[in-house]
Amino acid sequence: MTTQAVPAGNAASDPATAAARATAAILSDTLHGRERGVVVDSPPGAGKSTLVVRAALELAEAGRPLMIVAQTNAQVDDLVLRLAEKSPQLPVGRLHSSDADPYDKALDDLPNVRKSAKAADLAGLAVVVSTAAKWAHVKVDEPWRHAIVDEAYQMRSDSLLAVAGLFERALFVGDPGQLDPFAIVGSEQWAGLSYDPSASAVSTLLAHNPGLPQHRLPVSWRLPASAAPLVSDAFYPYTPFRSGTAHDDRRLTFAVPSDGSGPDRVIDEAAGSGWGLLELPARHTPRTDPEAVGAVAAVVGRLLDRGGAAVSERSSDPVPLTADRIAVGTAHRDQAAAVRAALAGLGVADVTVDTANRLQGREFDVTVVLHPLSGRPDATAFHLETGRLCVLASRHRHACIVVCRAGVSELLDDYPSTEPVQLGTVVKFPDGWEAMMSTWDHWSGHRVPWRP
């Protein structure tokens, strides 16, 4: 479907060189550029957090007071922990809300991290980190010299409007392929306006400042060579990226051989090819389809029982595939709850089970995904949202197993894409229907049919 050639960085160079070159250019623009903003697109696992921490440290080193804006408290705490890990001496402020338990208790163990609900208490610290929501209540006489806005594609334009007065210039970092921000009421009347308050912060920023330098991290260090091409083609058709590792850099093996069951066969398929599709018989079901939920749990159980081990560029010795290296992703919270209950029933603990929204930014060795369209009699915009499927299909380092009922392509045929079009808006790629179709086509090549 690509009809417009987009330069994909210097494809000839090796990934590490390409990534290092991109990072150097970003840091140079951030520290020495003349523009007020720098935008960085980061596909899944391309080293966004590493970049944010590195840019923060270099700005602090250069003596520029820095504020960091993240979208959730978990992201803020994670950034503070990473900063302290890289540079334990750096004085960091954690601005938090006045609710109960406003921050991760682990921060209490860091001597150079000061926590407060008042910005004034944190004045003069090299770096101050908080959520966009909290920053919106801060008033300053003198703006910060520099800001880093993390997960900028998940931030709404109105949220940026509330905080942009706090800084002179900023580095905006984010993943354009993940879930878009949304409003709980209609906002069509502003569609097509450059500052549509419900649009993403980046689209407003670029509409008003089209000349800002835009960079792209070109290499995913997370996604294996088996996954990067599909995720790139399906979800980033005009901004491709590649895997930082080659096919034989990563290997997933199991000590216990297959018992010939569906879960074992799909595990072996995924271990060999990076993808597996466990297909249950077609049937319309409610969201918490007991058979599909049971199949997900069975796959997770067998992943653990069969003594999995992962070899990767990180370690030539096989690393055991433990529960904390496995995640289950679903579209809805009640599905996640049902999978948790099923896993508890199997005696499995410590496997992360969550919705796409909450898995954003996380990384695992193996993921098991309950396909958003599994068993559905209808396909709504929610289920066709590309960001949701993109998150679910891009959390793994080794293999991803999709569990789904048959009939997805027939369902998609019945729900042709009929999206309304707002004049003047920049078209966001890809189309949900098209991405669903293309991923489904690919996964169908790794299909293991199974009747639970």
């Binding site: 918490t288 009699p377 209808d378 042709p416 309304p420 079009v421 004049l423 003047g424 790629f429």
Partner: protein
């Protein structure tokens, strides 16, 4: 096939038809946009899509009349090839394009196709709904974009036969009346998404032939047949009625009557099914909710019973 006549013959006439006011205005607007050899239309294409090119003056408007759709399509192909080779602004007024749909050609007639001096082609859609302060009804723009995407695909099929292959632009021009006036204004519409989707749908449409093959032999939809025979014929074609059909298809009232008679829950809207699992009829759902049928271990049945109990409790509380 005339679905409107068919619907009336089936005894379920639809509310379709066009007001002559809208019809007259639509035609007058298109004529105005294309007046003077398309000067205004070409000005808009130049301004919105290709401001770098030389402004259009004395654009060519080739004659495209020919006998039958095939003849017109051949004439269009010739004119497009000539225009691209000439490298001059050219307006093709109501060209005829052929698109391969499941092995047989479908003939399409866009409002206009413009050839740029660089030899590239742009699809132009002229609509009579207004652009008010720069925005227009998104559902209507979406429909226009999907329509334009089909023309883009047909043009690409055609272009591939030429040498060199002229590029088909993926931004179509939508021309509409401005605000409350009858003056044209235009907006570029990026149709890459719709093009990708349509292209995939066409690739999957090999199924049409399968559907045609699956039809019982001798099925015929002629409106002068007796109603029972017609109904039987229409029934033999699988169709999934949903309320959205009412605004799109002349046969919708007929399908709705069938759907209601069958007690299909989707007659109330497709989202209704979302939480009902395998239950598809009103009677089945109500029986399951009342505890008369259904397996309580089925989460759909369990949820229905909880919903029914909560609803009954609330209504009772309100009566008290």
């Amino acid at each position: 096939m005339d679905k409107g006549a068919l619907a009336s013959a089936l005894g379920a006439p639809s509310a379709f038809g066009q007001s002559q006011f809208a019809f007259v205005r639509g035609n007058a607007f298109e004529a105005r946009v294309k007046a003077d050899g398309g000067a205004e239309l070409l000005r808009l294409v130049h301004e919105r899509l290709d401001p770098g090119a030389a402004p259009p003056a004395d654009a060519r408007v080739p004659e495209l009349t020919a006998t039958g759709p095939r003849g017109r399509a051949a004439r269009t192909e010739l004119a497009l090839g000539e225009a691209s080779a000439a490298g001059a602004w050219t307006l093709l007024d109501h060209p005829m394009l052929a698109l391969d749909v499941a092995g047989s050609p479908a003939f399409l007639e866009p409002d206009a196709v413009v050839v740029h001096p660089d030899g590239s082609w742009t699809v132009v859609e002229i609509k009579s709904f207004p652009m008010l302060d720069g925005s227009a009804d998104p559902a209507k723009v979406g429909a226009a974009a999907r329509q334009a995407a089909v023309y883009v695909l047909a043009l690409e099929e055609l272009a591939a036969r030429l040498d060199p292959v002229p590029p088909v632009r993926h931004r179509a021009l939508l021309v509409c009346p401005k605000d409350f006036s009858n003056l044209p204004t235009a907006s570029a519409v990026d149709v890459r998404k719709q093009r990708a989707v349509t292209s995939r749908q066409l690739a999957r449409l090999t199924r049409i032939e399968e559907i045609a093959d699956a039809l019982p032999e001798g099925v015929c939809f002629a409106p002068d047949l007796p109603a029972e025979e017609l109904t039987a014929a229409v029934e033999s074609v699988p169709a999934a009625y949903a309320p959205e059909c009412l605004s799109a298809c002349e046969l919708a009232f007929h399908c709705r009557a069938r759907s209601r008679a069958d007690g299909a829950v989707t007659a109330l809207g497709r989202p209704v099914r979302a939480e009902l699992g395998g239950l598809t009829t009103v009677a089945d759902v109500l029986a399951a909710a009342r505890g008369e049928t259904g397996d309580p271990a089925d989460p759909a049945v369990a949820a229905l019973r909880r919903a029914a109990a909560l609803r009954a409790e609330a209504l009772e509380a309100a009566c008290r």
